[in-house]
Symmetry: C2
Subunit: 396 residues, 2 copies
């Protein structure tokens, strides 16, 4: 019995690749600062579990395939705060942003069709595009340029007759890159010229710092027929385990076809939708509070990082990630050293090697990704441990 | 911008096709007995919401990609009751049986690869196989033979060099057909001979009547390397909205590759897994109670159905569905008549036309599916309304 080429071409999560080794370090009595995964320590707003605890239907029945109407209305209200008008019929509730992405790629891609994605990119895009028998064509960016990709020449060089869509994540994982509305419009013009769909993964929308406004491809009216927004409660509300996300679009033909997949898998979980409704109804002041916390964490991380001689990193504008080039040939070897040979007062640190975030072979070997999802003190200590580890690594 | 051929080839749920028309009948003051959908009226065991209400983590964090360990252990314990040994590493928790199926097909099928499925079949198989760019090859069964398909000649006639798997749902939706252990072994022999995977959709496992034991492809040790069991809490525990299911297998290579997809979509919902753990721990007496209730409903439905002259139906042995041939040329036209022109004392009835359950064009036009998910009185009245409707239909 054979397995499919697509599943064989997928990869195990590179973010979790070193988990077993870190676990061993832990068991050996070392304290490990985990800067590798995007699981925030911020408390989920209490309204989530309160709404769920109050749910008292006797039968946990199927929800509507497109989502519980009250949740769709709450999502609609959330977008209205930004001047974007999406009605119930524009919103399909999904099992997290993950399912929103996989449903979208399945709806757009024939075998061999191409999607443009700036690299380094969220590694699971590879899984989702491969599930659809599609191919990622990377738009390569560099740490020296702050991972900037909103550049017509750079983007158009990657377009072929097989290109069907461009997928932009802003604020970005793993780079923290944030698109301005002008950049959104520039990318939109390219998409129009080459007749491409735009997949706008905006699950970190409010995590934009230094006074940057929350932007969205949904704000560019001229792109309404081609924009597919991916949203999720995971990061914004620190509710990763809720697995509630959505696809938002104004393209009726797309929505009608997506509904076939949505009906096929029946519905998203009923109880979690009840909780998510409460989250989407939170006022804007909630985002201000969370944003301030993450911005302060970013500042701490960046400041500590700048103490490392030879590191290359432009201050990231959003999300809660930072990718940086370290002064080593091979970041994976350095990480292995940190976990197996190094400690400072019994402590060490874990980050995500960036090679797995690149599609182009050989790139990213000198880069790492940090998720600043711990409190400021721990973040500062984590980055300090990287600095101390580098010193020890170079002394070997 | 184009959509993918696969999404265009999918179909909207035929079970929901007449919903809008039934809705109108309802709004016009008619009472409609809904025998068309598999949403049971049975109360979800209280332990589900109790476990969820007691969940008091401050952060709703990602669960493990393969499932919460305590839930995997509960599933393991559930299978052990039937003498089947599956450990944590044999179990991947999914977003319902639906995701278990779509992940499985994506793992097995290259574009154009074939899966054998007895028809009539659960319509969403079409969506899941098409998502994987695969093709369903039906093994045609008939109401006259009680939709029997465990027949070497019949199955082997459908095998081609592109066949990768045979997918059996037992107890079956929509036919109520239940495989004996001997039939399971016969199908297993064919799968071994032709090197096929066996996808065993057993979400109705306990719904087997007339003293039939609960059977499973997992009971045939000689098939351990090729059997992929699909399980779910939806029907067994009347928890359709929980969207918790699992893939159970002893094939390590398959599991290792499935985990790539599982990691890609991060995890199944954390809170619902807590509730599902409590469900899987229920004792066998729970199934006895539920089985007795459904068996009594089946008896009522079958008895009422046999009062209709010209109906063709073998008494189904399990699940909570029954498919029957009605003495009309076109069941969809008859259903339209029931919803728009007919009533008896202000009441009418809705069922699922069976044409959508067949892959072979032209088949199923004279058949309907009934889900016996209402109480006995309502089920009896629903089938009586079909009989009265037929009389009125023939008098026109």
């Amino acid at each position: 019995m054979k397995l499919s080429n697509k599943v064989l071409a997928m990869e195990h999560s590179p973010i979790r690749k070193f988990n077993a080794i870190a676990q061993k370090a832990n068991e050996a009595g070392k304290k490990v600062y985990y800067l590798n995964i995007g699981q925030p320590d911020v408390e989920t707003p209490a309204c989530f579990m309160e709404a769920i605890r109050a749910f008292d239907e006797k039968v946990i029945a199927y929800a509507e395939s497109g989502g519980v109407a009250a949740l769709q209305d709450a999502i609609s209200g959330y977008f209205r705060q930004y001047g974007m008008e999406y009605e119930r019929e524009n919103i399909i509730v999904t099992n997290g942003g993950s399912e929103a992405l996989s449903m979208t790629f399945i709806s757009l891609l024939n075998p061999g069709d191409e999607v443009l994605i700036p690299e380094p990119f969220y590694t699971n895009y590879h899984t989702f595009v491969t599930m659809a028998d599609g191919v990622i064509v990377p738009i390569t960016t560099t740490p020296e340029e702050g991972y900037h990709y909103a550049d017509a020449e750079k983007i158009e060089a990657a377009i072929t007759p097989k290109t069907r869509a461009i997928c932009c994540i802003s604020p970005g994982n793993p780079t923290g890159n944030v698109l301005t509305l002008e950049e959104i419009r520039l990318i939109g013009e390219i998409a129009k010229k080459h007749d491409l769909w735009i997949i706008a993964d905006e699950v970190y929308r409010e995590f934009a710092y230094d006074g940057r406004p929350a932007t969205s491809f949904g704000m560019a009216e001229e792109l309404a027929d081609r924009v597919i927004i991916i949203d999720s409660v995971s990061k914004r509300f620190s509710a990763c385990g809720a697995r509630i996300g959505c696809i938002v679009s104004k393209n009726e033909e797309l929505l009608d076809n997506l509904m076939k997949i949505a009906q096929g898998r029946l519905c998203s979980p009923t109880v979690e939708q009840i909780g998510a409704e409460a989250l989407y109804k939170l006022s804007k002041s909630y985002y201000d509070e969370i944003r301030a916390e993450y911005e302060a964490r970013r500042d701490v991380v960046y400041k500590e990082l700048m103490k490392i001689p030879g590191v290359v990193c432009q201050k990231p504008g959003g999300a809660f990630y930072l990718t940086a080039k370290l002064p080593v040939d091979n970041v994976e070897e350095f990480l292995m050293f940190l976990l197996t040979e190094f400690d400072d007062q019994g402590e060490t640190v874990m980050f995500a090697p960036a090679e797995g975030f690149y599609a182009t072979p050989g790139l990213g070997k000198e880069e790492m990704r940090i998720a600043y999802v711990l409190n400021r003190k721990d973040m500062a200590r984590g980055v300090e441990l990287i600095r101390l580890g580098l010193e020890a690594y170079n002394r070997r």
